[in-house]
Symmetry: D2
Subunit: 341 residues, 4 copies
């Protein structure tokens, strides 16, 4: 068979491991031919691709990023391109396309699948917010990077007797905040699923100082927001430099907590380091298994499906289900984490 | 309530995280008192313990080892001590004991539970071989340490044009070998579940060199053995220094492969580094959740049970089931890994 | 002898290693008694201290922060306290004080020494800007943390086809920027010693894209500033939240480069992670040697001196010399680094 | 100019950083052409090489190993090949050769230089035993890897109440043992420069247990030997499998200490992980500077010289001096380290 693969959306540790696994399973075990489209859907629409043989994927297992490049494409743009995509598949003699991507990519994959194209999706998001799978690769690496940073920040917070407000990734869900906060023993964890009451937060941190502790670490997901009416909050838009990206919950929370507690409070924004670099062993194994099973799905003709992890098994679910709703942090998990406050 | 906790068996990253979590959940949230028995079951039998308050567990979340110490105790010895254990529980006013340990510990826990003692077990093994749970804490750290070592060894193998035979932990099961081997892109993975044929192995590695590659990495679990008749094999016992521990599959395999392939082959035995040191974020979260849910089980009176991970949930299973059989690597997983050979 | 030790100024990996070494060398080898003043000079002025025996320093070698706490004290305040300090030394029967700190601390040490107090200084700064020593501990750790972050950021920059402007520590000198930038292969390095011309910088980065590269990494020390007249620049003061710390060169440079290059440019501010957490082996060895030699200096009566590294030797220099001028990046080093642009 | 570069001898983190730096400085700044000989001197003798342009060295800065390959060649073989080497230089139009290697390589370099070939050497050894330079790249990485392993082993030794004898690299000198042992707070450090008295060692470790400690870590360089008459010692040759490499000081010392102390003692042999994988930031900077200055030396016609680090400066020394004697651990350094016993 001839299989096309592409990576779409934000950077995520493990993308190269999937690509490599598709090539290994396809080429070595099935005698397939594999090509890689460049820069996501764009490569499919513009028929921009490269052959992927064993040499092409040699040494990439542990490398961050994606050797195929990535880009974001407008759904409308892709919708207009269905006919073109179909034609390119025919021209290239492709039997299947394996797109690796997050929510947007998988929605696009579903649309193309509904239009009759032979698609098997592989989910990808460091945010871990795809409901059809227990975990997505990239998440473990992001949590690991954030936890290591938190470990380091603890000693510096302690030496300077400070509150540190550490902003981690998670625009819509708090998984990275929850896991890195639990792993590092953060004293409060703030997630988008549950708007925070700054008064409660200040009391919580204040109690810690009252008990004789010299510092506190608050982990906050970038998408967290205060409960309406509890605190003035600039939701962003543009900052003074005209950049949307500079507004941030950590900085505003630091100002607020400093005023309320009379303790030095500093924001730390971990940023892009969470999504780059070499994947953890966990993510490499998961990504490799996803790639392997995606090839199997192609050979089984299981189109319109997506690979998922359920317990310790890799299974398939319809793309339609996969993107139905966001996997948010359930209240029970939040309660568990409170034990570490 | 008053709860006793103890750690038994081999060192495992995450033990301290469980202890800390038991104290946090118990003391802070339930108003419990917690004591820790020293050196495993020995502490219970000899009534050797310390109070565990919040200060006692401050700063231990990320630390390897166990602040309570550990030891191995003969089952017979423990059986004779049931009455004493019961008495000590009464003397100390304990409502429950939470033993954290591997197969041996959990069997002992079951025996005490059957004798009517209020026990909630927490499984622990870096080998990941307890069937009642998807994963045990410590495993991810061990795989991570082994993978990092394999990453390093690859460049040195390549520069010296060698075969490296890397022995990882796993006396009865090949989980660490499988996962670290997949994560690092090993060219062959040898596990106890499937006795190896050295001729096949030599062919596999030989093909790699024939294809122009300059090195090969073979990951082998310490408990792996050759298929009878395929290779002379010293199963160990004592070595020339009278120590059982020096016989090893990696060294014998290196000799054999070197002779068959005519390539320099070197054994590397990773050893104890795999079970020491700071746990990964994954293991800290899992250990923390286990501790939390063990306390809940105590408060629910769910004695004779053990915490387990099922998918993303922590649930309870009877201790009786937990230790029924070893969780071995299923053939399907082994097939997946072959794609990386 | 009786020796007092204190840590003053900002957090720096290796402080605990010095403290431990002073105690080991003093107590074990010389039979000294060692006490530690709490929170820097404040502890000396307020006679707030603790005994430091072997148990007190057990397990701290690899820990970041300082078990003694730290604080900043106004020079004037300390000047007024000389008499009190002298009295406390007499009261405590101390033969010497070993302050561990940066430029401010060493100036204070010199002042106290000039006033006749028995002082041996140990230099400390992650910025590496003390001229009397080849290197200070903490610097290697800071460079290592920054380099690891840069390694991670490279793959994400490449996947997103971006310019990343990464701000590292260094208010007055560019040592961390220079070394981490060289180590990570940054495409431009901007240091305080040499005000940058944004036009030149844009050209340099632009040439890279023109040559077909998909990303660029610019490392900039937090204290770097544009050459006057080349770019509007907000030197800080207060930001919109009333906090001095939010103004930053990386953010302003990102805006400017994005406009000039028409490429997405993003700032990443590494911040406090650079100064916290476990020290590298290099820093632990250097810190241990400094502590050892400080005790020797005390026993030799070499007061008013400071430990320094010269080549591979630890020697002593007068405190007076030690703080005379800042060690800036010499132009020759900057030229070397340009080869990596 | 046209410059040839080659890497010879054992793997060492930083080799690729030197190669990259030679190409960057040569090609970008001087307009040179650079070629790389494959597999060390062998490539020069057999005229086996590849062109090295900017693309060829892209992305190799942080990679372990050497993209040029390495091998060992007999001095006699090389001596016979001087004429051939000269001819190949002429054929290829080379103005200079930069060999990167350890003692053997530098001796060969000197021999070729004495024969009139235009050579500038770059020293390389993880052992740090070249006397003409303060430090060699690779050493810091090796020490870092060993220290991280020691950090991990500490917790496991403590949990199991064991003596761990950890064997690190260092056939003739104890630098890695000294630095990793100091960095990790080992309780005894054994180096080749000073044959050990096993009775003293047992007393030292025994005192620790007598003082109530539960474990001990002994770091021993692979080349360490007992003082004659203090202990039976198998210097190696062949082991039971006919392999020279399996005899080892750590294993023999473990047996001896276990018998004398009545405590479980286990050997751990760190092995090849110390010389593979990504270099530390320190090593990358040093290697980059060496490469840069080697190119400068070529352009200055400073043949027969070798780059060295003196304090913070890179300077040149005659190859003749460089290999005169081994840089051993001076007694003073050993005394310093005893403070951590």
């Amino acid at each position: 068979m001839r299989i096309g693969v592409l990576t779409s959306g934000g950077d995520c540790p493990g993308l190269n491991a999937v690509i490599r696994s598709v090539v290994h399973r396809g080429v070595v075990d099935h005698g397939d031919e594999v090509i890689g489209f460049r820069d996501g859907w764009k490569g499919l629409l513009e028929c921009d691709y490269r052959e992927l043989d064993l040499d092409a994927v040699s040494g990439i297992l542990a490398r961050g990023g994606t050797i195929l490049g990535s880009s974001r494409v407008q759904p409308a743009h892709l919708r207009d391109g269905v006919q073109r995509a179909r034609q390119h598949l025919a021209d290239l003699g492709l039997d299947a396309v394996i797109p690796i991507g997050g929510e947007g990519t998988l929605k696009a994959a579903r649309m193309l699948s509904d239009a009759g194209l032979p698609i098997v999706g592989v989910p990808k998001t460091i945010d871990n917010d795809i409901s059809a799978t227990d975990v997505t690769f990239g998440f473990d690496t992001a949590v690991g990077v954030a936890t290591e940073a938190l470990d380091r920040l603890k000693t510096t917070a302690e030496s300077h007797q400070r509150v540190l407000i550490v902003e981690v990734m998670g625009r819509h869900t708090g998984w990275i905040a929850l896991h890195s906060g639990m792993a590092a023993g953060a004293h409060a964890i703030v997630v988008p699923e549950r708007p925070f009451d700054v008064t409660e937060l200040a009391e919580l941190v204040g109690k810690r100082f009252a008990a004789g502790k010299r510092f506190a670490i608050v982990v906050v997901a970038e998408g967290a927001k205060p409960r309406p009416g509890t605190m003035e909050f600039d939701e962003g838009g543009k900052d003074v430099y005209g950049h949307e990206r500079f507004a941030g919950v950590a900085r505003q929370l630091a100002v607020e907590l400093e005023q309320r507690l009379g303790k030095e409070a500093r924001p730390v924004i971990l940023g892009h380091v969470q999504r780059g670099g070499t994947p953890t062993a966990y993510d490499r194994v998961l990504a490799t298994r996803f790639g392997w099973h995606a090839v199997e799905a192609v050979h089984d003709g299981a189109f319109g499906m997506m690979t998922t992890l359920r317990g310790t098994d890799i299974t398939l679910v319809p793309l339609a289900e996969a993107v139905e709703h966001l996997k948010t942090v359930p209240p029970a998990r939040y309660v568990e984490a409170e034990c570490v406050l």
